[in-house]
């Protein structure tokens, strides 16, 4: 286990160094802060997404789900589409990234709050599969409404929108980074008192209750943590669905453990490797002719098919 983590740490450090220093051309005071900010954004989103996916997969007891099934990124796209559809691409909310970020985060967290509240209103059995089903239906609904608006708007404005459909680290704002860091740290501190329950929850509801976990209470709080982290990550860089699926499963395969303290740390490191490595390839190999999420979704998709085939065989 130690050796595996050493490997991951070394790769992360090498990639960060490579990303920071490669081809800087001597303009250090210009290059370093810009690249450093990008790296910080990637570390932040990578961690948030890896972490929430691992927790979400444990709660649902399913290794091919990602929190995107809750419909949060569809809601984000709907909001972005709506802004451009209703106000055009030149108004304050569509150009000022700070306001856009804050409204998006508030909207997504508010949505999950209302959504959970309604579903968990009934005491006792919180039916997680019902939650997923509703999330999926709402997500599809948001997607349909977005595409309806997309076909109506001006093609030039649609190009503006298209930028937001793919996660991008190229113009991350410093203020937003600070807000996100504060948010993520706050949530992480809140989460730490639940971490010990994750291993037991992966045994399933009945065993968890038998072993004294206040299951419904813990799962609800974990879902809130997942929703907040997903909201922050999505609003910061855009939807980046497959990353979580990819890194959570690679972490499972690579570490071969059920212990969440290792799984979470491992998937966060793998996630950072995927993002920084992917971004490096985008910038230096493809010279920005493609976006990072295209590469991640391509690798993620291929891996997903491999997973399905493998599960099918066993």
């Amino acid at each position: 286990m130690k050796a595996k983590f050493s490997i991951l740490f070394v790769i992360v450090i090498v990639l960060i160094a490579l990303f920071l220093l490669y081809d800087a051309g001597g303009h250090w005071d210009y290059v370093l802060p810009r690249r450093g900010k990008k790296i910080l954004a990637m570390v932040l989103t990578g961690s948030a997404i890896a972490f929430s996916t691992v927790v979400f997969q444990t709660i649902t007891n399913n290794r091919i789900l990602t929190p995107s099934i809750l419909g949060l990124d569809s809601l984000y796209m709907l909001f972005q589409t709506f802004i451009i559809y209703a106000f055009g691409s030149t108004t304050l909310t569509s150009t000022d990234r700070n306001i856009n970020f804050l409204i998006s985060v508030a909207l997504m967290i508010g949505f999950s709050g209302v959504f959970y509240k309604i579903l968990f209103r009934k005491e006792g059995q919180s039916n997680i599969y019902f939650l997923l089903l509703i999330g999926m239906i709402l997500g599809t609904f948001f997607g349909s409404v977005s595409s309806f608006m997309e076909v109506l708007i001006d093609p030039n404005e649609f190009l503006m929108l298209q930028d937001k459909m793919f996660a991008s680290f190229n113009n991350v704002n410093t203020d937003l980074l600070i807000i996100s860091i504060i948010g993520i740290i706050g949530v992480t501190i809140y989460f730490t008192k639940f971490i010990k329950y994750l291993d037991v929850i992966s045994l399933g509801r009945d065993q968890a209750v038998n072993l004294g976990v206040n299951y419904d209470y813990v799962v609800k709080r974990l879902l809130v943590v997942v929703a907040i982290l997903m909201s922050i990550a999505t609003a910061l860089v855009g939807p980046i669905t497959f990353l979580g699926l990819l890194v959570a499963n690679v972490a499972h395969q690579f570490l071969k453990t059920y212990k969440h303290k290792y799984l979470i740390l491992g998937s966060i490191l793998i996630s950072i490797i995927a993002l920084i490595g992917g971004q490096f390839i985008v910038e230096k190999v493809f010279t920005f002719s493609t976006t990072l999420s295209v590469i991640i979704n391509f690798i993620g998709g291929a891996y997903f098919i491999y997973l399905l085939l493998k599960e099918n065989k066993s």
Binding site: V209, N210, G212
Partner: protein, 252 residues
Amino acid sequence: MIEVRNVSKQYAGKHVVDQVSLQITKGTITSFIGPNGAGKSTLLSMISRLITKDQGEILIEGRDISKIKSNDLAKQISILKQSNNINIRLTIKELVSFGRFPYSQGRLTAEDLQYVNDAIAYMDLEAIQDKYLDQLSGGQNQRAYIAMVIAQNTDYILLDEPLNNLDMKHSVQIMKVLRRMVDELGKTVIIVIHDINFASVYSDYIVALKDGRIIKEGATQDIIDRTVLQDVYGMAIHIENINDNKICVYFA
């Protein structure tokens, strides 16, 4: 002592368990018998707080289980359901270690490890303790789960059809272990069981349920009786005395 008072559970307007009251004496094996759909498993799940009850109260040592903290209750009562599908890959030892969670919260002390090793030894699993659960036979799997319950070290142990899918040899083995746990360790065991002869040979008390109600409860020799069983199962069952055990013959 566990005391169940007027407990009911409805699903979609239908009473699955209807105004059931009973008492479980400490240091005994009590079997719940009855036809399919009688509410046996539902009652067991309510006693172990896996599902909520609609009405009534359940007391353990005089305290209402809904008022006891879940973690404290996990040191008093444990339950093993009939299907245990877990998605993660565990060895026997790792599974049994989970039984110590109510005490250790995941950080095993030397004392916890002692309990784990004792439980593994008690179920005679030492030779295969590092094997993964998916490499085991049904009987070994069931023994591993029972070892986990033993490591949890609760006074009350509830088992939902522990003999499901086991062959004769393993069934007898499991029932003997349960009997030993009651006689040697002073545990109280409640099982839901379909094989009436295992209930007859190994249990002290039998509770017969039908349509969500208790038809009859009492000492084993009183329940394993032609007229009572006729009431419960709606079929004539012939009873023979073989080596001081009452054996039901119902196959033809």
